[in-house]
Subunit: 235 residues, 2 copies
């Protein structure tokens, strides 16, 4: 049986529409889009107006085809001759990854790492506001650290609800991480960035991203040896 091109196209379209959350972009793509946006803004400050996929690919350490595919996902189209308009592309990426009214963030565990993160995000992203910090150490609470006042964890639920916080950052020791995560979710958080070196259990509908520094360092150490070995053999 031979189908016309139009028929095939229609079939695919209907299948797509019937499928689940129609155009749900993968976590990997979202991550790269966030990277592209930073690179684009950096290019813009250097006076560039347009950029080609291979330029962005080279800056981002990915393939040009990957860049084009990711950009396709946000629904933006460039011009074959001029490439992508930096302004428009930044705008389109923002339309996908930013919430129009912005989102509020809370950080729990104002230790070494927590303070570094607080300091870094202070006033940096207007659409992603760190609105509260918490700790259970009375020496750290009710003082202003890096421009943020750390509240006692006992007030966590109350403040998260009041400030409409939907994203939590977990910087507490691993023994406390699951409890903190449970409290964050109960209070209304739907996304957690977890620095504690254990996977968190959360109900469906809550997204967790783990940053496991120890694991990453062990990976680097392993491949520092292995890729070096591979190189030797080809010499």
């Amino acid at each position: 049986m031979v189908l016309s091109i139009a028929a095939v196209k229609n079939l695919e379209l209907t299948l797509e529409d019937v499928g689940k959350g129609e155009n749900m972009i993968s976590a990997k793509s979202i991550g790269r889009l966030s990277l592209y946006r930073r690179l684009l803004i950096s290019l813009k400050t250097r006076g560039e107006e347009n950029v080609h996929s291979h330029k962005l690919a080279s800056l981002g350490g990915v393939s040009p085809a990957q860049v084009r595919r990711d950009i396709m996902a946000v629904g933006y189209s460039g011009s074959p001759a001029r490439g992508y308009s930096i302004d428009e592309l930044v705008e389109c990426i923002g339309r996908i990854i930013d919430h129009p009214e912005g989102q509020n963030v809370a950080l729990v565990g104002v230790g070494h790492l927590g303070r570094a993160v607080l300091n870094y995000f202070r006033g940096r992203r207007p659409k992603l506001r760190v609105r509260a910090a918490f700790d259970n150490d009375i020496n750290k609470t009710n003082r202003v650290l890096h421009g943020y006042r750390a509240h006692p964890v006992t007030q966590l639920a109350e403040i998260i609800k009041r400030e409409k916080i939907t994203v939590g950052i977990v910087c507490v020791p691993k023994e406390a991480a699951q409890d903190v995560a449970n409290n964050l979710v109960d209070a209304g958080c739907r996304g957690i960035l977890n620095f504690a070196p254990i996977p968190l259990r959360v109900p469906p509908g809550v997204y967790v991203e783990d940053i496991d520094i120890t694991m990453s360092l062990e990976k680097v150490a392993y491949f520092a040896r292995e890729t070096a070995k591979e190189e030797e053999k080809t010499e």
Copy 2:
């Protein structure tokens, strides 16, 4: 520690497999193995001697089949009835991801994040020793911070060669990151853990792992909205 006959067999098998180097273990598997090892050690301190794949899977947030396949990659075999011996499995994972004599690590950029990382790894991993820290700010160098003395970056090449350092951690601002990476590679580093929010260019044979906290936070914020939306629709 008493090794069974099975463990000795495993040792022989892994030595054979490592020698070839053609079927290299994926970065994802290495990462999970690092996680399994931590979980196993934690189980051991609670008095457990053996563990089944589904138990480890549940703790690690992965599927039992995944656990079995990762463990297959290190060349260890468990018993159908008792599962895996925790001691032996930790030993076999270490044989893959640790260097027998250990590896030396340097950290560049003793700012907020760099100090948090230094503090965290102090005396934690005997096979992964942070041997030197560097900064270009004279207010931070030649003082002892978190048990480490920070050297001026001008001494980077010399000290890295002298201390036989093969792994570098980059915690400097993004403007300086590529220069620092170049110096690390020139001095002999073959692996870099990069916290600066730009991809580093390195020659082949050098492995880079990026930890992009901003990107991760934006991902969390995005999926905090999107997965919540999906949930609503199914209600």
